[in-house]
Symmetry: C2
Subunit: 317 residues, 2 copies
Amino acid sequence: MSPRVLALCGGVGGAKLALGLARRLPPGALAVLVNTGDDFTHLGLHVSPDVDTVLYTLAGLANQTQGWGLEGESWAFMTALARLGGEDWFRLGDADLATHVERTRRLAAGETLTHITAAFAAALGVNQTILPMSDDPVRTMLETEMGTLAFQDYFVRHRAAPRVRAIRYDGAATARPSARALAALASPELELVVICPSNPWLSVAPLLSMPALRAALDATRAPVVAVSPLIAGQAVKGPTAKLMAELGLAVNAATVADYYGGLLDGYVLDEADAALAPTVARRGCAVELAATLMTDLPTREALAAHVLAFGARLASG
Amino acid sequence: MSPRVLALCGGVGGAKLALGLARRLPPGALAVLVNTGDDFTHLGLHVSPDVDTVLYTLAGLANQTQGWGLEGESWAFMTALARLGGEDWFRLGDADLATHVERTRRLAAGETLTHITAAFAAALGVNQTILPMSDDPVRTMLETEMGTLAFQDYFVRHRAAPRVRAIRYDGAATARPSARALAALASPELELVVICPSNPWLSVAPLLSMPALRAALDATRAPVVAVSPLIAGQAVKGPTAKLMAELGLAVNAATVADYYGGLLDGYVLDEADAALAPTVARRGCAVELAATLMTDLPTREALAAHVLAFGARLASG
């Protein structure tokens, strides 16, 4: 079944809206295309942080407090690993570890990340389609004051503290995007593309850096709508604002709209940023004001409903 | 430092005596040479069940009730793995998993099993030397009524139920035995070799099947003493008696002494098997009667003391 809505997202922030969309749409109507630029091999295991965040969120298993990992997680593995002198800067919970071990085993057996993700989603009762952006490796690398850092080194080991000078997406130029995403974008069934409020440079850019995916997004008949990840110049969570400043960008929601540029048919600004609406609109993009802060399930669903309605207006307009 | 006592063992039964010996000897005086014929790759992880049993036992971390794994172990990983549809016939505890993940990572980085085991033992505060029998793969394979089974398939997945027709030790003919064990056997410092009451065919035979180790055991100046794994024709735990019957052997402690044959200078029979003493002695092997059932720490230490005294008498006699 071809999806009616395709959501592009990274980890925590994006997954919140993906869950809202999942709850507002019938089973099977939503596909989520997820960043894999943060994927890395740790302790010999293939870890796909954003895919897992979306998987756990849509399965209703995500930890609501810490923003990553599983609810009710235990840490006996990490404690024992530290006792043996192993690396413990990236914390893998006991239950979460099953995902990484089983995925690594299946990848080694020749299965694709796409196939494995679909199997895990089915096993966890997820009714939506979760698509890794590519089965080929794309790796987000940051040029920082400490030298070149792989994403998790930057984000987790160094807590996003080093100043960033530039970001590149190794492998993106040749990686083949998700075939199912390309098919969805070309399908007349598709009604809306949503760019979730994930970090544009760290979580969405890896997707857009794949030329074939970028071209398919440019060509799709469905409206493309992004939701601002900034509210009044602040990120809800994570280093978006800090990173923008380091990259020499004006830290506000209009800059994000500029970054997505001609890709967008519509842009959802937080109500707190109403003053930016004329600036964005002048660039030819329809603007919608909404309450974008998602603090619980009702606010996720409300924002999703708002985005879906905005998309429907754009499609018919 | 060259060890004074070298103990050969497999898993649970042998590790009990190894712990008794460790507690009766000064730090550094004991080396334990451990079967790796049960090692296997499971879920992409290198699992060394007997090495881990000895490691955990000497570290004081072993589960006293179930006979394998860690005390106070938790099972969140296995539960999550089963939820994902992964293989759950071989149970890996959350803390135990750290050993397998870290070992697999270090093996992939080019370290030897010997080196990794020494590092783990040091990290866990073990004062004795734990030596995997070889860094080369040796794999115990069973010809059964169900066809050829790898050891863990036979032992864990099928609970040692299939009738065994023959056993082979793939790789043993060319595997290089532990260099430190060979050096110990050639050293004038060595006072005693103890073959622990492990299953002779499943746990000790893989060691003896390596020609260079067998030759070094034949040539060592130190007395070689085995402790019977059978008491009144019964194994304390595990399939030894069943297996002997399937192989067409008389199920008693004298058969085990026959199996070790010319390798032995002394044999420790349980007091319940006093009637077998003349049979064993007739074949030119010194016999000692002892209480061989190890139900707790004092009985392990008492048997160890008994074996050490027997060895000292043989060395001076």
